[in-house]
Amino acid sequence: MNSPSTLLNALELDALTELVNLGVSNAALSLREMVREEVVLTVPKVAVLGRDEAISILAKNENKRLVAVHQVFEGDITGRALLIFPEARSLELVRAVVGGELPLEEIMELEQEALAETGNVLLNGCLGTIANNLERSLKISLPEVIHGQGEEFFSLNPPPQAGDSVLFIYINFAVRHRDIEGYIAMLLDMPSLETLKVMVSNYIRRIAGEQAITSNAP
């Protein structure tokens, strides 16, 4: 089995990171529309990890209870996208999004909707932009909010094959003076990852021209 990191070389990862950033900035625009406040989304890091590695990263967080917004995508590449952050921060996120001085109960009541909508916008932004630039179309589902731990998130039906890789995106979400750190994890099976690789190299070729490809011949 190939280790995931070798499936995308440095250039490909860079290109993907660029696409993610693009997607995230689009999402920020949409979010701003939603919250009527300045939204700053930053992506400090993008990595391709094995499933186990991804789980351990999520488990490093002392508070292991997580909340995720889950969307499925189908098409040339198939998989799940999850916006994940610590459950304890979720209420922060809700407050950031709905603003105002709503009492705790109302915040908690709105939690499901707020997370769903926010996650929806973010994931749509990322996935949609990536798919668009890779000249592919993906069918993306409506969001679902789930609570649990990393392992559970990565074991959703249908179960992933061993060796499935995770495109792991670190994301920073800042709105209304609140800073929330989370992750976007895209779970892809092997074939989908290979397809993604092809799509990315085509993209690179398209943008950078022949020189980049020849100099980076594997």
Binding site: E113, A116, E117, G128, S141, L142, R178
Partner: protein, 689 residues
């Protein structure tokens, strides 16, 4: 409607929910029956229009964004009523506002991308939620919002999720500022807070209340009593903490502790003060005494100055008397007027005598006078000065003399005792300016060891001499200092303050003691005790005895004296007495005479000769004339005291001396010559100590 989709449309128009399909230009292609009813817009009217055209004035930005996203990137979007309270203006069948959620999804059906908008009625659910919430809020508000205590709800991470108005008031932050803060950051007493937290998280019930210290936004401290309990909502765990303000109680405790502390500190300070008080009193007393001493020293110096001035003055007068008389005498004799010379001679002699007495007193005071102790009968002595006493004390004061019968003898310097009696009488007189009674008593007394202790003498037999007056008396402070030299209560010029101190010195030297018994307003009694003398009083010639000074034997007396006047006088006296005087002016010439074969029966020599010390002359003389009696003359009595100085056969007489005294001494010495065997014997009236 396209006929091929007939069955689709039938379903579409039966569904309880709005379904709208937009083409790639965002124009309506499908508008189902539910949507027509809810919006009031028929399908025919809706077709080909944009949503903005159909619903002008509605805020459809999010919807349109979602539509764009669906058409461009194939994404589905959910827009909830909860977060977006007003989207489409729709009404229920009873004309109430229709609350709805919206989802926007892409459709691909072979004809290109289209967008499906699905609208769901959530009115009922929303209303129910709203009702429940209001119910809950009402109950909740009743307690939390109006509670005087701080109520904080804190999530598992320790972050404040809820703060009531009391919390805002207590901490100085607005409720909104408090939410999102770490609860622990509000407290100064980290350990106390951690304990509250730990207990609350671990158990469900409230354990015990703990005191915590909070820090307000303005930095001030607040004391609170905390209790917390944990509860859960779904999978979430929360801790609600109630904090009661105990600042007043604390302030009261602190005030009490402080006043207790003050009381304790005061008591401690007092105790310390007591401890050091004695020391400080002692220190102060020492300081005062030193200051007194210094003052006294200064006073003494001043007094000495006055005294020496006074003495010089007196001496001048006396000398004047002498020289004046002699001058006149000279003139008279030169003029042959011998008849009147008696007066001047008497005058000169009297002056000289007074001067001698003064010198005597001074020397006695300086304790350099060699005392000449002899057996003395005090009664006789007092009787002999009675005349003088009466004259001295005047007529206003009655003099009573109470001598004891069979009074024991004492051994002392008679002159000094006389002076003592005179001095005490003068003091008594001065204490009775308006008259009174002066009593002089004598008595025998045996002092037991306890009595003797009071007198500060050895136990034994003593003779008491008391001089009592009925005068003003002396207060205790004056009594204490009465014997101090220069201490006097008399005005300047009226007393030197030396009298009592001299008496004290003389009495102590005689192994006796003197005490003052006095009470203010009742008079004083000065008492002298002197040790009993167990020997005999030999009736001897007193120094004043004028008779029987002549001798018939014509002994040769060598007079060695460098001062002409003195030598002259001595020689004259000797001639008068019938002796044959020889003269020498200094030691050398004396030795020449002594070395010759000239008969010499007595050597009278001044101790202070210009060349050789008189003593040396005597010693040298005695090497050749073994039994030669020697009479030393000295004006400076320092060398006089002590047996060691005088060998056998040597005696001493101090200047100034009257001629009678000289004559008596010479006679005695010569008279005892045959009885001398080489060891000193005691003969009447010539004892030297």
């Amino acid at each position: 409607m396209p006929p091929s989709a007939n069955s689709d449309y039938r379903i579409l128009n039966s569904i309880n929910g709005g379904f709208v399909v937009l083409d790639q230009d965002a124009r309506v292609t499908t508008w189902n029956a539910w949507m027509a009813t809810a919006s009031g817009i028929s399908a025919d009217d809706a077709r080909r229009k944009t949503l903005s055209e159909l619903f002008p004035g509605a805020d459809l930005r999010r919807v349109m964004l979602a539509v764009q996203s669906a058409l461009a990137t194939n994404t589905s979007t959910i827009i909830t009523h909860a977060l977006n309270p007003s989207l489409f203006p729709l009404l229920t069948r009873s004309q109430r506002t229709l609350l709805h959620d919206v989802t926007v999804s892409p459709i691909e059906d072979g004809r290109g991308l289209e967008c499906l908008i699905h609208i769901t009625d959530v009115t009922m659910a929303t209303r129910r939620e709203k009702y429940l919430r209001e119910q809950q809020n009402a109950r909740y508000d009743a307690v939390v919002e109006s509670a005087p205590d701080v109520i904080l709800t804190i999530d598992e991470e320790g972050v404040v999720q809820l703060a009531n108005p009391a919390a805002a008031a207590q901490f100085g932050f607005s409720a909104a500022d408090l939410v999102g803060r770490s609860a622990a950051s509000l407290f100064d007493s980290k350990d106390a807070w951690a304990e509250v937290w730990r207990q609350a998280i671990a158990e469900d019930a409230i354990a015990q209340q703990r005191e915590v210290t909070a820090r307000r936004k303005d930095g001030t401290i607040s004391y609170l009593e905390a209790s917390g309990s944990r509860w859960s909502s779904g999978s979430r765990i929360f801790v609600t903490v109630i904090l009661r303000d105990i600042n007043e109680r604390r302030a009261a405790e602190v005030a009490l502790r402080r006043s207790e502390g003050n009381a304790r500190a005061a008591a401690q300070a007092l105790a310390e003060l007591n401890l050091t008080l004695e020391q400080r009193v002692k220190d102060r007393t020492d300081q005062l005494m030193k200051a007194e001493e210094a003052l006294r020293q200064g006073q003494k110096m001043e007094a000495i100055g006055q005294l020496t001035g006074g003495i010089a003055h007196d001496f001048n007068n006396l000398l004047q008397g002498i020289t004046g008389a002699l001058n006149l005498l000279q003139k008279r004799i030169a003029a042959g007027r011998i008849s009147e010379t008696e007066r001047f001679i008497t005058g000169a002699v009297e002056s000289a005598q007074r001067a001698a007495a003064l010198t005597h007193r001074l020397l006695a005071f300086s304790r350099q006078q060699p005392i000449d102790p002899r057996p003395v009968d005090e009664n006789n002595l007092i009787a002999s000065v009675e005349e003088l006493l009466r004259r001295t004390i005047g007529e206003t004061i009655q003099l009573r003399f109470a001598p004891a019968a069979d009074l024991w003898l004492v051994r002392c310097d008679a002159n000094q005792l006389e002076n003592a009696v005179l001095n005490l009488s003068i003091n008594a007189r001065d204490a009775m300016p308006t008259g009174g009674v002066l009593t002089i008593e004598t008595s025998n007394q045996t002092l037991s060891s306890s009595d003797a202790k009071a007198w500060d003498v050895k136990p034994g037999d003593y003779v008491m001499l008391r001089v009592k007056d009925t005068g003003a008396g002396m207060p205790r402070e004056v009594q204490a200092r009465a014997f101090d030299p220069f201490f006097t209560t008399k005005a300047i010029g009226k007393g030197t303050g030396l009298g009592l101190s001299m008496i004290y010195g003389f009495v102590r030297q005689s192994e006796g003691a003197v005490r003052i018994f006095s009470e203010v307003g009742k008079g004083s009694s000065i008492e002298i005790c002197l040790p009993r003398f167990h020997g005999d009083l030999e009736v001897a010639s007193s120094a004043q005895d004028d008779g029987d000074n002549r001798t018939e034997k014509g002994e040769v007396v060598l007079v060695v004296e460098d001062e002409a006047v003195v030598r002259l006088l001595v020689v004259e006296v000797l001639k008068e007495l019938g002796y044959y005087p020889l003269e020498a002016v200094d030691g050398a010439s004396a030795l020449r005479i002594l070395g010759s074969s000239q008969r010499i029966d007595l050597l009278i020599t001044d101790l202070g000769l210009p060349d050789i010390n008189g003593r040396a002359v005597a010693d040298e003389a005695l090497t050749r004339r073994k039994n030669l009696p020697v009479l030393f003359m000295t004006g400076y009595a320092a060398q006089a005291a002590g047996d060691a100085f005088l060998a056998d056969g040597m005696e001493i007489i101090t200047k100034p001396f009257t001629m009678e005294v000289l004559a008596a001494r010479v006679r005695d010495i010569i008279a005892t010559v045959p009885a001398r065997t080489g060891a000193r014997t005691r003969s009447a009236g010539s004892q030297i100590l």
